[in-house]
């Protein structure tokens, strides 16, 4: 079937066969689900609720006994904090730029891979490898062997003499993040390219559509759902970027490359300010939920939840 078929959100239920009476006890059906569900609720929801609770407390770990209820004061303080606003801006820049650049590169690589050529399997293996390097290892290697002002490869290749991490801290971090996430985008987009029906493409060729025309009016529209999914999933991962910043710049110089996860970490584990860092955590969750809502809708509506995209 064509992959443009849109499955209703309730596909999972409508696919259900009429059941004989012996399954009348719903708890029997729920039993296999419950352990996973209860475990997930306990481990993921409880800490978050505690975070919400902490966010209304003034509590600094270096002042024992300082814990008391302060209402929305932490939120007021957080929004008045220019570093927080800077970190928020950096988070948005980092996420948007990295998603777009890695998607553009991923699209290019996927197009190169979407044809038969000598050693295609090897090339694909090479291209996914940066994703399989430990992010911590990747960050440290870029910081040293690539970006080092004296012995780094980048300055050698470009013939420059730039201290990348001091002069372009956020850009350097983004380069590493893009490098790490491009394979992810490539794989998703490649799957989209390969899902195209060969007949339609051939028909377009027979009808005399040029290569660019075929790409623009057949491939791209069909690919758009894959691109959206790649962008949203990528954004969810990249918004949480921590490894690269922690290991490459420590958010610096100053706060030039501090994003929200790193700032919250700093306030919590270096400033010991439980209340304010919790308030920031809550804000991040609310912002993420906005992106997440779109993703959830996309996963359910555009993709056939009952069967996946073939």
């Amino acid at each position: 079937m064509t992959t443009t078929e849109i499955a209703p959100a309730r596909a999972g239920e409508s696919a259900e066969q009429p059941k004989p009476r012996r399954h009348a006890n719903p708890w029997k059906r729920r039993a296999p689900l419950l352990p996973a569900l209860l475990f997930t609720i306990a481990v993921t929801q409880i800490p978050f609720l505690v975070t919400v609770f902490y966010s209304f407390q003034s509590w600094n770990l270096v002042r024992p006994g300082s814990q008391h209820f302060v209402g929305f004061q932490n939120y007021v303080d957080v929004f008045a904090d220019s570093t927080f606003r800077g970190a928020m801006l950096n988070t948005v820049v980092l996420t948007v730029v990295c998603v777009f650049v890695s998607m553009a590169l991923g699209l290019g690589l996927a197009l190169l891979l979407d044809r038969k050529f000598t050693g295609r399997g090897v090339v694909r293996t090479l291209i996914i490898t940066p994703f399989l390097i430990l992010p911590a290892a990747g960050a440290l290697l870029w910081k040293t062997t690539m970006f080092d002002p004296v012995y780094g490869l980048l300055n050698f290749v470009l013939g420059t003499d730039i201290d990348w991490l001091s002069e372009f801290p956020l850009g350097s971090v983004m380069a590493q993040v893009v490098w790490q996430w491009t394979p992810f985008m490539t794989l998703l987009i490649l799957a989209g390219l390969q899902a195209q029906s060969k007949e339609v493409l051939e028909a377009a060729q027979v009808d005399g559509a040029g290569r660019w025309r075929t790409f623009a009016s057949i491939t791209l529209p069909q690919l758009s759902r894959y691109l959206q999914l790649a962008a949203l999933l990528g954004a969810i991962y990249i918004v949480n970027s921590f490894d690269a910043i922690y290991l490459m710049t420590q958010g610096g110089p100053g706060t030039a490359s501090t994003n929200l996860p790193f700032y919250i970490y700093q306030r919590a584990f270096e400033g010991f300010d439980v209340g304010q860092s919790s308030a920031m955590g809550v804000i991040v969750v609310i912002l993420t939920l906005i992106v997440a809502t779109f993703t959830l809708r996309l996963m359910f509506r555009t993709f056939d939840v009952s069967g996946g995209v073939k």
Partner: protein, 269 residues
């Protein structure tokens, strides 16, 4: 036309090699002496040595490696034990509100982990799980469970309905049904799901660096020790990075056909 194809292939190869070059450079550097690692211009040819690898183990790499292996295996097994029945109850014998449950699982994956780290730290401290591998086991299980449920479900849905019905008509009980009909079809899916979970557990950094230290530290924590060491040892760092990444690199290469399915939580095959 033919020439165009050859040059496009050459271009593709060139791009791929450039793209993966930092990895190639890591491998080369790991076989250098520190003196060879710091040269201007960078040295492509040198007499290789294994001293860096020996140095990594002298630095105490093994306990971290053991912690990583333990946490990865235990959390992956736990994920499978929880996810397989759950996926079954969301596909072959779907419960009411299946899409809500699926939505819930997915939404937990979107909750920024940084928002939960403070209570997790405080709780771990109170129950004596700070710098304990079991804290990571629990968290990694929760981290990978939604992904595994979604992914396993997409494999379960591939079991032909007719096969299940036929077995039911023949009077097969549930365990027989699962073992004889469902399992053979989904076995590759279970393997693929396990591999994806292994990759994510092995590479996880944020929980590990905040909740563990010398006793329960995993491989990424070992690596982060290199930023504080005085003057960076590039060659040794490269050797450590290579050793740390090799298990997931091999697994990822093996599982590359399933990688996209895992990364999209089963949405894309």
């Amino acid at each position: 036309m033919r020439l165009g194809r050859i040059s496009l292939t050459a271009f593709t190869w060139l791009v791929a090699i450039l793209f993966v070059f930092p990895v190639i450079w890591m491998v080369l550097t790991s076989f250098k002496t520190e003196a060879d690692a710091y040269t201007d211009p960078p040295r492509l040819f040198f007499s290789p040595t294994l001293e860096q690898f020996a140095g990594v183990f002298e630095r105490g790499f093994l306990p971290y490696l053991a912690n990583s292996a333990f946490v990865t295996v235990v959390s992956t097994l736990a994920v499978l034990v929880l996810a397989i029945p759950a996926a079954y109850a969301l596909s072959i014998a779907p419960v009411k509100g299946t899409s809500n449950v699926l939505g819930f699982f997915l939404s937990t994956k979107m909750l920024p982990i940084v928002a939960a780290i403070i209570p997790l730290y405080v709780i771990s401290q109170n129950v004596q799980l700070l710098d304990n591998v079991w804290a990571l086991n629990i968290l990694y299980t929760a981290m990978n469970l939604p992904l595994a449920v979604w992914m396993m479900r997409s494999f379960f849905l591939e079991v032909p309905k007719e096969m299940i019905e036929a077995a039911r008509v023949d009077g097969a009980k549930l365990p027989t049904l699962l073992y004889k009909v469902v399992l053979p079809v989904v076995a590759p899916g279970i393997a693929a799901t396990a591999l994806i979970c292994v990759i994510f557990s092995w590479t996880e950094f944020f929980y590990a660096v905040n909740l563990t230290a010398a006793r329960a530290g995993t491989v990424p924590v070992f690596l982060s020790g290199f930023i504080t060491s005085e003057g960076l040892y590039w060659a040794q760092l490269s050797a450590a990075a290579l050793l740390a990444s090799l298990p997931v690199m091999i697994i990822g290469w093996i599982a590359q056909n399933h990688l996209v399915r895992g990364l999209s939580m089963g949405a894309v095959k």
